[in-house]
Symmetry: C2
Subunit: 175 residues, 2 copies
DNA sequence: GTTTCTAGTTGCAACTTAAAACTTAATCTA
DNA sequence: TAGATTAAGTTTTAAGTTGCAACTAGAAAC
């Protein structure tokens, strides 16, 4: 079932305490996001992905196996036609939607300039979703210049400002 | 300056009207997001990236060149020490922050389980940012089950519901 | 003026990808 | 029910990419 053995090239690995490398070990591979997008577009079968994305069969087989192993897709043989196999997004996979949309919106803004079609709309009122943004605890939209990195151990718990001796030092050498 | 010529392998390309392939042609490469993260962490020099990320020199040189060409980083020789070169995030690069954070948060939730350190906080009140979410036009948090795809041409403009003959057909075969 | 430092480049072996042909099992079709 | 077809892979092989280690070139330090 697994066509190629997994990557013997250098891994993006768990250096420091950042979850990004971990996320990228699955989603940072070429085609992973494209497969994900198709899955969100209700593509479920091998040939469907193949036609939609246009990658080599062996690579697709390998990626589907990895995404399945990684818990992003669930693989089930179809009960009514035993030749077919269904790949469906798990909750873990569904939870990648904000990341995928943020990336797509970025592409729209900076690369194509053209609004992508189709767009995601709120089922309730059929109005398009907003741009994905970073929000403060009280829901203000924050930009990079409004933010700074702080070590977890130095976090201001539930609103009380801690007496930190060298607060400046905390914003350096982030992980 | 460009160590390897760009990708002769199959490109993730502009199939349909979706900006995701375009975004991935730059950011879908191995290490791109790791380099971006380091840049957000104020790493600016070649050796800095090398130490922080732990990838091969030639690959780093190639990626920095591609990210520079792609307008995500700006490359400037240092005026005070002409041996050094500074790589800084452009606005285009800074705009990838939501995507990067969404990915990192997903990794935290599903892969490591451990909150990453350091965290981004609002400079104003030093409270951590919220989870990145999808928002409706009126700022409600939306999940996948609240959403559907609609073709751009069929969009309900400024609140009036259009008389669409076959509305069902629109949610199929999304791009 | 020699050493060191920074940002690369080069060469090569190991690995991955892409394309096309092949396989295996299940289902139509006549 | 034999033969064609479909779905989901696997195999083969060439071409492209990566990783490592050693090398280079220009600027600064000593």
């Amino acid at each position: 079932m697994t066509t190629l053995k997994h990557n013997e090239t250098q891994h993006i690995s768990d250096e420091g305490d950042c979850a990004l490398p971990h996320a990228l070990s699955l989603m940072g591979e070429k085609w992973s996001f494209m497969i994900l997008r198709s899955a969100f577009d209700d593509v479920r079968h091998f040939e469907g992905f193949l036609n939609k994305i246009g990658l080599a069969r062996n690579i697709l087989a390998n990626r589907l196996a990895r995404l399945t192993q990684g818990g992003i897709l669930a693989r089930t043989p179809c009960p009514n036609d035993r030749r077919k196999v269904e790949y469906r997004l798990t909750q873990k996979g569904l939870d990648l939607l904000p990341a995928m949309l943020a990336l797509r919106q970025w592409g729209e803004k900076w690369a194509t300039g053209i609004p992508s079609t189709p767009v995601l709309v709120d089922q309730a009122d059929r109005k398009p979703i907003k741009e994905i943004t970073i929000r403060s605890h009280d829901d203000r939209v924050l930009k990079w210049q409004d933010l700074c990195w702080v070590d977890v151990s130095q976090l201001d718990i539930d609103g009380e400002t801690l007496d930190i001796v060298d607060e400046e030092a905390l914003v350096k050498n982030i992980g």
